[in-house]
């Protein structure tokens, strides 16, 4: 005879693999999402950048001194300079009828001749992209005017160009100078993988507990030859399996997408996931799936309906996502302390793995920490499933769940 939990696990897996919503969420979404999302995103960014380059822009020129200064160089392509008063130009810029406003001091020419500095103001706003593009067109023009004036001054004194800047710093990014792929992946993967892992656990957890209560199938199970702990074990393993498959499908789909390489404007973005990196990520994602399965089953088991379960899951999702977001904060890195914080350690390990920084002790510490918390979550889930709150729901909720569970239930049970 097979143990009850195995019979139930077979039933749960059969049931869940026939659920279109679960299949869409776990397999179809990642397979289509990443290539679609990243390629479309790349195409949109490229097209947007190109469109801005070709967009005719009008830039206000305040005062004849500004016009004279700018006349030293050709007008940038697709750009028109229009003389305006400063106040009027500012108003038009706020109304998005102008892309930018340029103003040099009235004595600009005299200051240049006298060897003094001329400060040229470029008014723009980040509120609309055309204005930022106008700034981008003005920068090289003003730089060119500056270089010409500088050359005249240096030539007059018989000096070299290096005289002005005796020491020039030139940063060279050893890893990502030519390819931003790993950097972008290290930012995206922790958030996306944890999000999908959480989604992969939460939906089936609600469906298999609160959903079953609502459909009346839970009572059917609990009066059969299965103990609550058997029911819990089967659901726990099912939720964990769905979460792991979701994370794995996302990981592979993302690896495949990055493997082809994505162009985001001028920057190259290619990224290859090596088997070692995939194994490292799985080493932390599987325990994380167990942890999330325990948490989500515990919380969902207190709900009476699917809708109520979904409401309860919103704060759970936010709480579980917070560590993923925290992992992107400057200065937050995987160390012996952060490796003990559940989910934050998973996000940081994924990040470190993508960047090639993960070490074996960090992997083991992260796995061990998450597994300990997963065991606590499993114990909580077992307590929840043994309580009458799980069987029929109840307004006494958490207090009854962790306290006097034996005699706690609701007035609604009293019929």
């Amino acid at each position: 005879m097979r143990p009850a939990w195995r019979i139930l696990l077979g039933k749960e897996l059969l049931d869940v693999t026939r659920d279109r919503r679960t299949l869409v969420l776990t397999i179809l979404l990642p397979v289509l999402l990443y290539p679609g999302m990243l390629l479309v995103m790349g195409a949109i960014i490229s097209a947007g950048t190109q469109r801005l380059k070709n967009e005719p822009l009008t830039i206000a020129v305040v005062g004849p001194s500004t016009a004279a200064l700018l006349a030293r160089k050709p007008v940038p392509p697709k750009t028109t300079f229009e003389p305006k008063e400063r106040a009027q130009a500012e108003a038009l810029l706020r109304d998005q009828k102008l892309a930018a406003v340029v103003q040099a001091p009235a004595d600009a020419e005299a200051r240049l001749q006298a060897g003094q500095q001329v400060v040229v103001t470029v008014l723009y706003t980040k509120r609309f992209d055309r204005s930022v593009e106008a700034l981008d067109r003005m920068r090289p023009m003003l730089e060119s005017i500056n270089n010409d004036a500088l050359k005249v001054r240096l030539d007059a004194r018989g000096l070299e160009a290096g005289f002005v800047q005796p020491v020039k710093g030139e940063p060279v990014d050893l890893e990502f100078q030519k390819d931003l792929g790993p950097l972008i992946a290290s930012r995206l993967l922790p958030i996306i993988l944890l999000t999908m892992l959480i989604l992969g656990a939460l939906y089936p957890a609600v469906d298999l507990t609160a959903g079953e209560k609502e459909r009346g199938t839970l009572e059917t199970l609990l009066v059969s030859g299965a103990r609550p702990v058997d029911v819990m074990a089967a659901k726990y393993l099912t939720v964990s399996a769905v979460a792991v498959v979701t994370a794995l499908a996302n990981l592979l789909a993302m690896a495949a997408t990055f493997g082809f390489g994505i162009s985001l404007g001028p920057a190259n973005m290619t990224f290859q996931l090596h088997p070692g990196q995939v194994l490292t990520m799985l080493a932390c994602l599987v325990p994380a799936a167990l942890l999330l399965a325990g948490i989500s089953l515990t919380v969902a088991s207190t709900a009476r309906t699917f809708k109520e379960g979904q409401s309860l899951m919103s704060p759970v999702m936010l709480a579980c996502l917070a560590p993923a977001l925290l992992s992107q904060m400057p200065g937050v890195e995987l160390n012996s302390l952060t490796a003990l914080v559940p989910l934050l350690n998973v996000a940081l390990l994924i990040k470190a793995s993508v960047l090639g920084n993960a070490t074996a002790p960090q992997v083991l510490l992260t796995m061990g920490s998450v597994l300990v918390f997963a065991l606590i979550a499993l114990k909580l889930a077992a307590t929840a499933f043994n309580s009458e709150i799980f069987r029929f729901g109840g307004t006494e909720g958490w207090r009854a769940l962790f306290g006097r569970s034996k005699s706690s239930s609701t007035q609604s049970d009293q019929r």
Partner: protein, 243 residues
């Protein structure tokens, strides 16, 4: 004859409210005992305690001599439990439902196959046994649900308002189930609000009100005790607490 279903002095509270108060009764093989009473009388709580879904504050329940609170799994192997709200897994076929619940009741594969075959004939499941439950009509679902409840051929049947949401045609399946069970010497505890069903099926009746059994006996005895001509009037008499 020893009772298959035994309820002895059970008490169950919900917070400050006593839902079931010192309820005792037994159901012998071949008996169909009707549990009657208004909403909130404590019928469902009594049946849930009997099925081991709720723990009593005091008292005992036994199925075929097995203490439900001490050995719930062994007790449930002797129990077929059916309510109006017990559902089916919509994505499983009828056969998969019966196989799953039969295996949970520790039936070996040979016995299980024989039981499914017997129930298929008895409940006329042939046309839809391999259909997914979600694609079945409500009548077909009801029959699968009955088969699910009795796939392990239990000695005791506990039916909690099983016809509450059914039309007369679907209710007929339940009534026939009870009659067949009685003919096979099963002990049946049947909770209902439908007096005509109770009068038609039950060998004995228990009236509950406020968590207590306020009257018990055969239909004729209860009519005589209440001084009423019809069971519905007797129900109103006991439910209202009138003299």
């Amino acid at each position: 004859m020893a009772a298959v279903i035994e309820v002895e002095g059970i008490v169950r509270d919900f917070g400050a409210t006593r839902a079931v108060d010192q309820v005792s009764f037994g159901v012998e093989p071949g008996e169909v005992v009707g549990l009657l009473g208004p909403n909130g009388a404590g019928k469902t709580t009594t049946l849930r305690v009997l099925a081991g879904l709720l723990t009593p504050a005091a008292g005992r329940t036994r199925i075929n001599g097995v203490d439900v609170q001490v050995e719930p799994l062994a007790a449930r192997r002797q129990l077929g439990f059916l309510t109006a709200s017990t559902g089916l897994y919509e994505r499983l076929t009828g056969r998969e439902m019966l196989q799953t619940f039969g295996r949970l009741q520790q039936l070996d594969e040979e016995t299980l196959a024989a039981r499914i075959a017997a129930l298929t004939d008895e409940l006329e499941l042939q046309g839809f046994l391999d259909k997914r439950c979600g694609a079945m009509s409500s009548g077909q679902k009801q029959r699968i649900n009955i088969a699910r409840a009795v796939v392990h051929d239990p000695l005791a049947y506990v039916l909690d308002e099983p016809t509450a949401t059914l039309d007369p045609l679907a209710s007929r399946d339940i009534l026939e189930l009870v009659q067949r069970a009685q003919a096979r010497n099963k002990a049946v505890l049947f909770s209902t609000h439908r007096m005509e069903e109770a009068e038609y099926l039950c060998t004995r009746l228990l009236f509950m009100r406020g968590g207590k059994v306020v009257a018990r006996g055969t239909s004729a005895e209860l009519l005589a005790q209440s001084g009423k001509q019809k069971l519905t009037d007797a129900f109103l008499h006991y439910a209202g607490g009138a003299a």
